[in-house]
């Protein structure tokens, strides 16, 4: 179980490892924390049940979505619609509002809650290219006016539809990342549910990437993986255990910068508390980024993603 102490230790560990990159030092504290985690029975290994609980919570039909957090955290919210070319994609929402005494742009995948009509309307959070083009448009407004960009990542993936392909799904995902890579404003991405592959990363090329405790982030959905591995989507649980899309694993790999704690039984049990915890982490991430100017922010962001890769020596 991931207690609050564990999350704190893991955050600290991840930060140290990040600082560690350039040269030596700090390895003592790293080792000490690793030992402490192991003693808590939380070494590297998380069992299949724990990982699957993240998958279930991340997709829980009552889990808070982007607009639930916006409602609780963002003042003077105005949603901005449309890609100025073809449609307003409801699977991604975007807008401006105030947060922590400044104006921010918020962009996030949006699932529908409740009946099938609502879920279909939001296309289960699976955006068409037009949704990503709307996102880029709002990022550019933020860039022009110096607003930090906060993204909420919560999608099974980009929509695998015929029109989506015809209108350039792959290119839109790439262009959205390219736009994020160019920004000179601070950017923070939060994986708040499902961080599914290209559809997720298109909104996640940020200076800081945070992840809620029971969110997942992976290159393929457990079902997608299972159906490739065993041609049987029913084996998703086993697949998830192989891929470990949970927050702790992502933190260990350095893919995220911190884990945002959730209410004990998941964000869906207490929207207000989940929002409070999310808001706190967001605020401190933005505060941290205040120290950098535009050029540094851009360089920091690109350097961060440049570093990923594991090689045989």
């Amino acid at each position: 179980m991931s207690g609050e102490l564990e999350l704190k230790l893991r955050d600290r560990l991840a930060k140290l490892k990040r600082l560690h990159l350039p040269g030596g030092g700090m390895s003592n504290e790293v080792r000490r924390i690793e030992q402490q985690l192991e003693e808590m029975g939380n070494g590297d290994e998380r069992d299949e049940d724990e990982i699957w609980r993240s998958v279930e919570f991340a997709r829980h039909p009552e889990r808070p979505y982007t607009l639930d957090y916006v409602e609780r955290l963002i003042g003077d919210w105005i949603e901005l619609h449309g890609d100025r070319a073809r449609m307003d994609d409801p699977a991604i929402v975007s807008g401006l509002g105030s947060f922590a005494d400044r104006t921010v742009a918020v962009i996030g995948h949006q699932k529908g809650r409740g009946d099938a009509v609502q879920r279909v309307k939001r296309n289960f959070g699976m955006s068409n290219p037009e949704g990503y083009r709307k996102a880029m448009r709002v990022m550019e407004i933020a860039e022009r006016h110096g607003f930090p960009v906060i993204t909420f990542v919560d999608t099974p993936g980009a929509y695998p539809g015929v029109a989506a392909e015809q209108h350039g799904q792959g290119g839109a995902l790439a262009a959205s990342q390219a736009t994020m890579a160019r920004l000179t404003v601070p950017t923070v991405a939060c994986v708040i549910g499902e961080g599914g592959s290209g559809g997720a990363i298109a909104l996640a090329l940020a200076n800081r990437v945070l992840m809620q405790q029971f969110a997942i982030y992976s290159v393929i959905s457990p079902e997608g993986c299972a159906s490739i591995l065993w041609r049987d989507a029913g084996q998703a649980r086993k697949a998830a255990a192989a891929f470990r899309p949970d927050a702790v694993h992502c933190l260990e790999l350095g893919v995220i910068d911190g884990i945002i704690p959730e209410p004990k039984d998941g964000a869906h049990t207490d929207f207000d508390e989940a929002a409070k915890l999310l808001g706190k982490s967001l605020r401190s991430a933005l505060d941290e980024l205040k120290k950098m100017n535009g050029k540094e922010l851009r360089r920091d962001r690109r350097a961060r993603f440049r570093s990923y890769g594991v090689f045989a020596s």
Binding site: Q169, A174, A178, G198, S218, V255, R302, F305, G309, F311
Partner: protein, 282 residues
């Protein structure tokens, strides 16, 4: 933990065989003409009867395109580690070793310097036969280094792509190669370095969502499947018949995603022209 499972992603995004059953690799899947290997090689692996473009490996591609002996490979020693300790029927490490034996390549991309008609450029070429051209740490790293080298050397980058998508065995780190290569392209843009992306059959998924669609110029060979999601998955999702040319270069061209479809026999001259144009700036 990662239990014994069979990862058959090699052909995840490869198109259904036109004839249905597996054919000899030198038999044209479109018109059934059969060729000796040297015949096919002499015709750049294009069917003389029907113009079908057979797949071309990275080494042969370099031979087809570049001035003789002009290729200088770089980062040849890069090999993937196994961050997840991934094990299906075989371990990821074994799979890499097998692929290396089969293809003679260290991973799915070759990177280095090259020349066409004497014009210098940086090159990446992918090979679909190495684990379906999947993008893991090595492909991402080689591409990023290629961008950096192009910036240092002030020469254009040409990338000849072929990929089935993510290297699932590297999990989330495979996904991270997507933004990593995007950032590399952006650095190159800032430095004013031209980038020409050549799509060959198939270029899909993570590659399409990253550098392959970010060229100043984007061209494809005829018949190239270029889609983010493969036809099978789309078909399962929408549960309707797909258009005949779904995801192919020909439909992508109509929908505005390609600057040109270039016959393989004209690829070299087209690239030479582009290198000339991007070479002398007003």
């Amino acid at each position: 933990m990662a239990s014994r499972i069979d990862v058959s992603i090699e052909h995840k995004n490869s198109p259904p065989e036109p004839g249905g059953s597996k054919k000899h690799p030198n038999t044209c899947p479109k018109c059934n003409s059969h060729y000796r290997d040297d015949e096919l090689a002499a015709n750049l692996r294009v069917c003389a009867q029907c113009d079908y473009h057979f797949p071309v490996g990275a080494l042969e591609r370099i031979e087809q395109l570049l001035d003789k002996d002009s290729f200088i490979e770089e980062a040849a020693d890069l090999r993937s580690a196994d961050p997840l300790g991934f094990f299906d029927l075989r371990s990821y490490k074994d799979r890499i070793a097998e692929a290396e034996l089969k293809t003679g390549l260290g991973d799915a991309m070759l990177m280095g310097q090259g020349k066409i008609e004497g014009l210098d450029f940086q090159l990446t070429v992918m090979d679909f036969s190495f684990m379906a051209g999947s993008m893991g740490s090595v492909v991402g790293e080689k591409f990023a280094q290629a961008c950096e080298r192009a910036i240092e050397r002030k020469v254009p980058l040409i990338s000849v792509n072929a990929s089935g998508g993510a290297r699932m065995q590297e999990g989330i780190l495979s996904l991270m190669q997507v933004p990593k290569t995007v950032c590399a392209v952006e650095n190159m843009r800032d430095a004013g370095i031209p980038f020409i992306s050549v799509l060959t059959h198939p270029t899909t998924a993570g590659l399409l969502a990253s550098f392959a669609t970010l060229g100043d110029i984007t061209i494809a060979e005829p018949g190239t499947l270029m889609c983010f999601t493969g036809p099978r998955v789309v078909q399962q999702t929408v549960r309707e018949d797909l258009p005949d040319d779904f995801g192919l270069a020909e439909s992508n061209y109509r929908f505005g995603h390609l600057d040109a479809i270039v016959q393989r026999r004209e690829l070299k001259t087209t690239l030479a022209k582009l290198l000339r144009l991007f070479g002398h700036v007003g």
